[in-house]
């Protein structure tokens, strides 16, 4: 069986600076995989490379065994990869309901059709409402997304990401800036909605990481220095030296 996501020698340079310096990683289908590392290690850049936002300087990326290295974000999304963003990235002037509905349209086969009305499609609207229910925004569905509270926007971000029913879900710091209780809720939410799917996440909160992840990769200066189960990573001397000491400081300045 092929892995959900494979990276082979992926590199990325901005001008003379190499940010990602040769990543080889394989994430099997159904695994919850966390990528951790200090600030500036290149975690978000790696996300952008996988999801097609940035072009790659070198290397290949395969999604379910198919090469996606040169594809545009929307093509990669259509092949079953959906992602969220570290900085909230929603449709601010559309209603909460519409945000989720837009996340559904392509995957439910509506494409750019201009002969069907979105308001008459029962399955579409019910699915959107179900997702809103899951992310706890059902009662807020008529507000413009731009006026939601921060935590609600983060939840909506996840809602849009999972709406399309992608096989591979990538979440970029889903709990960043949240209070403790909010974080707990989000972790539960993630656990619930990624049931049976592959999850790749970047996260600073070690509690969340060790709670959710099946395996963890540690990214430092554009290289993966360790990959393994939470226990293995926790035990790794290299990780402790290179990274864990820095995490507290990193967390402190994160927000």
């Amino acid at each position: 069986m092929t892995a959900a996501l494979q990276m082979q020698g992926v590199r990325k340079s901005f001008g003379p600076t190499e940010i990602i310096r040769g990543i080889d990683l394989e994430i099997p289908t159904g695994e919850r995989h966390a990528i951790i590392g200090p600030n500036g290690a290149g975690k978000s850049t790696l996300f952008h490379l996988i999801s097609g936002k940035y072009s790659k300087t070198a290397g290949r990326i395969l999604l379910n065994g198919t090469e996606v290295t040169e594809l545009q974000p929307y093509q990669i999304n259509r092949m079953g990869l959906s992602r969220s963003f570290q900085i909230t990235n929603i449709f601010p002037r559309l209603s909460v309901f519409e945000n989720v509905r837009c996340g559904l349209l392509w995957s439910m086969g509506y494409r750019n059709s201009f002969w069907r009305l979105v308001d008459t499609e029962r399955a579409l609207n019910e699915r959107a409402a179900q997702i809103l229910d899951e992310i706890g925004l059902l009662e807020r569905c008529d507000l413009p997304a731009g006026v939601l509270a921060y935590a609600e926007q983060r939840a909506l971000e996840i809602g849009i990401t999972i709406a399309g029913g992608a096989e591979v879900i990538m979440l970029d710091e889903p709990t960043a800036g949240m209070s403790h209780s909010e974080t707990e809720g989000v972790v539960e939410l993630i656990r619930r909605v990624t049931q049976g799917r592959t999850l790749v996440m970047v996260e600073h909160d070690m509690g969340v990481v060790f709670n959710l992840a099946d395996r963890i990769s540690v990214l430092v200066y554009g290289e993966i220095i360790a990959t393994g189960t939470p226990e293995e990573v926790r035990a790794s001397k290299a990780v402790q030296e290179a990274y864990l000491g820095a995490v507290d400081a990193g967390e402190g300045e994160a927000h």
Binding site: I90, F114, L117, V118, L132, L138, R140, A149, E152
Partner: protein, 449 residues
Amino acid sequence: MSATETGSAATGKSGDRTGAEPAWKRVADDQMRRGAFRRTLPVWGAAFVVLMIMPLLFSSAVGVTIMNQMGISIVFALSYNMLLGQGGMLSFGHAVYFGLGGFLSVHVMNYVEYDGWWLPLPLLPFVGGLFGLAFAVPIGSFSTRRAGTVFAMISLGVGELVAACSIIFVAFFGGEEGVSGDRTMGPPVFGSEFLSEVEVYYLIAGIVLVAALFMYLFSRTPAGRMANAVRDNEERAEFVGYSQRYVRFVSFCASGFFAGMAGGLFAINYEILTEENLNLVTSGWVLLMAFIGGVGFFVGPIVGAIVLTLLQTVLSNHTELWQLYVGILFVLTVMYAPRGLTGLVAMHGPALRTGRLGILARAYGAAVVPLLAFLAGVVLLLEMGNVANQSVVGESEAHVFGLTLDVSTVAPWLVALALAAGGGYALVRLAPRLRDAFARATGQAGAAS
């Protein structure tokens, strides 16, 4: 939508799940019910009735002429808003599709007259639309790659190119004389040969209704909804499976089609198309109409088209400064009412819903006199200044508001100055009260809901 609404929000989980039906099902039903086309039927019906009785209210030839022009502008401005309001594409060259659709419609009209083609007149706008579409497809294929500034620049370049070509290619565009035709040469429709203006009015009204209906429906399709999404956040749209470029392209083509339809209507009404129909002035004018009306609302461009057509046809007969007034109106709109005239009305929605309009009415009532005084003063100053600048001996009379003022005397100037200064001062003094009344009327309403 107000700040209070946001602030009072509890980060609630899903609603109570009492009753047999789950909450999400209720919400989905609710969304579908409210989005249902059925619910807008009364509005369309009312529009139909208004359109039908308008010629009875305004039966003079000028009245009908102006209404015909309004109808054409409405379709054109609505098509423009498919770009700017719904798709986030600022175009400086939208007249290209309007004009080309119109030119080809006149040519078709002539083929009907001289070469025996068969085409009932009411179908001509659709032919115009197809031609608009035919030009939008190739141009859109490269111009929609980016939104924002790049799109605006390409539209400007294409607009200049086509406008220049219209003077160079005389065989097709007829040079500065344009191309004319005769609408009465087609087969009669329901016994009408469209000889009179009123018959043309009903034809235009019908097409306006149909075009507006389809543009409205387009905004409710997946393509239309995604156009909004791409406008809001093109990056995010890419990550839910949509190519921003293709989404924009679809909107652009649809917009080109309806602009071409408006061009076809123009051809029917005026029976002549000239270079001015596709130059930058027309392109700028449609931007003004859509923006002043309000690009964020479906009815915005309709309001804008009506208001600006009136300004152009009626106000221009009373003052040669009308374009100055339009310029001032436009700049003020951009600065203080970016949601346009419709936005100004719409922001009273919350107050209306909670029945607190009375609070505002009193505050506004107090401001009416100072406002009128201020406007009258400013207009007087501008009009008298204009007369004074022209230096015609023995013609120092300014005709404003039906008054005749001698600008060579001091008195009218003092009066105008006093009106403007007094009105302005009173308005500045009243401003806090107005703001307060507005907050009370809408803010408390938000908290109460």
